[in-house]
Symmetry: C2
Subunit: 323 residues, 2 copies
Amino acid sequence: MANIKDVAAKANVSVGTVSRVLAKNETVGKELRELVEATIRELNFRPNGVARGLRRSRTDMIGLVIPDITNPFFAELAKHVEAIASRAGLSVLLSITNDDPKIERAQIDSLLKSYPTGLIVVPTQYGASKGWSSDVATVAVDRRCAGFPLISVNHYRGAGLAAVHLMSLGHERIAYIAGSVDAPVAGERRAGFLNTLASAGARCEVVEGHFDYASGETLGRLLLDRPAHERPTAIATASDQQAIGLLRAASDLELKVPDDVSIIGFDDIPLASLVTPRLTTISQPVEQIAARAVAATTGSDGVPLQDEFFEATLVVRGSTKQL
Amino acid sequence: MANIKDVAAKANVSVGTVSRVLAKNETVGKELRELVEATIRELNFRPNGVARGLRRSRTDMIGLVIPDITNPFFAELAKHVEAIASRAGLSVLLSITNDDPKIERAQIDSLLKSYPTGLIVVPTQYGASKGWSSDVATVAVDRRCAGFPLISVNHYRGAGLAAVHLMSLGHERIAYIAGSVDAPVAGERRAGFLNTLASAGARCEVVEGHFDYASGETLGRLLLDRPAHERPTAIATASDQQAIGLLRAASDLELKVPDDVSIIGFDDIPLASLVTPRLTTISQPVEQIAARAVAATTGSDGVPLQDEFFEATLVVRGSTKQL
DNA sequence: CTGTTAGCGCTTTCAA
DNA sequence: TTGAAAGCGCTAACAG
């Protein structure tokens, strides 16, 4: 593989000149520039990113730390982060923490060895992630993390949207399948849903589990396997995965959605529009979130020195109906 | 941030000695080793991976190139690759090609700038990816790519398993929802299914689409929206996503699965066991594939100089039944 | 067993 | 506008 010296030698210029044409914005004479560019193509020269990184104490990479890539919401986030970073000439270093703070810590230490330009982290759900000392630009996404700026949807207001929707449909026997009490995000969504209901004088039964399919199914069975007059007419969940599990529970119990029970999820994962019936849900602007997160780490845009929240939107599909 | 020189100075040894204790396998006196280790902890020294990478012309990273991270199968693959690589002290650089050869090419060129230890690539589905010149250890996963060793499930035999299962259940009016003709993997699965059927004298109607939910739904409707005596009693699909779309089509047409029609998928994505009814499918040993792929790039194991195939297994759940 | 030292390929002063 | 040269932090000879 040719290096910058080979190019310089072949073009009869100094390495400094080659470096300057690589940097594009420098002041190099037109003739020399063209000569160097031709030589670069001729030798098929690709600058060594590692050497560049060493010299600048910063590589063209951003670290992306997420709990679980098989979670459709995080997969979607990763997809957009990768696309946007890529367009900005940055590679993405992926770390998966499995929601384990120990692993998270190790992964971040490991990432830092590569001197990335920035770090985008969705911290583990439980137990405050302690901040790590580092001078790389860091943002938290979706969940709060130490003292780093947070970029996220407004979970509280998003859940409020779901409550309003259900009430507007005339439901009064409403239940909520929450995420774990220990998870702040679950807490916000739950509070947003319950407070909105409460301020309208409505009541709500709450059960609590995790943000996954299985939890939605188990808890759903608990809520639905009772006589019709004791059964909620509408159930909201803290995640689409729970809602999809809930759909399965309803189906097992031979209950029709939305005729026997209305269901509303949260996140709007791709699958939400493909299940039967199509899921009414609260949609997060994932791409915007990803864009802001990348911008924050590169400082390209107006860097957010502080938190930034996006509004969720209600997507009405087939799983909710007028009582 | 402290560097190796700081450690050497503080411990009153040479940088060479520090480097040797970092490398672990070197010959360093016990006392010195312990002194250096203590100093490292004391200064919270973390070796600079970039400098190390420059010196060795190889970083502790592997590149993972996949078409789409929101595809549950690839997400699963990424998860295992990350976990295994991580255990081996390797970070993973993630690239998403969106199944576009142009992007794939650009992404790989970009990855190579980081001088990764290895490259694991699931090439784009259509159009042969031309090989790229490079001395980094490269393996193709799931789909063939240029002259690189391929690590994959045996698609042909896996699909054969599905055919045998359906026949053993007494089905004779069988249909197959295939992937795109242009995609070699789709071709193998289709051939495996059809040939197995044919060699038993069974016939099969084939429709063709893509490996996604929407395709399964559309094509499913085509197959199922007809009088009972013209309708297939069993349908196999080239992917679980198609099968799940098909489930939705059946439900829309008020057809019961598996009573009115048996359905079998391929891949065994996590969702397969959560839909209603739970999906009978062909399971890929994703973790084994990931493990071999990582091993191949690190040369840790007996490096496969040639292709390596794993057998798929039949997972019988609730979506197929005796005719 | 330990110290010294020459780079890895690049960017970035500093001079000319 | 261009060239020369000093490292970035580390590893791997080579010497002792």
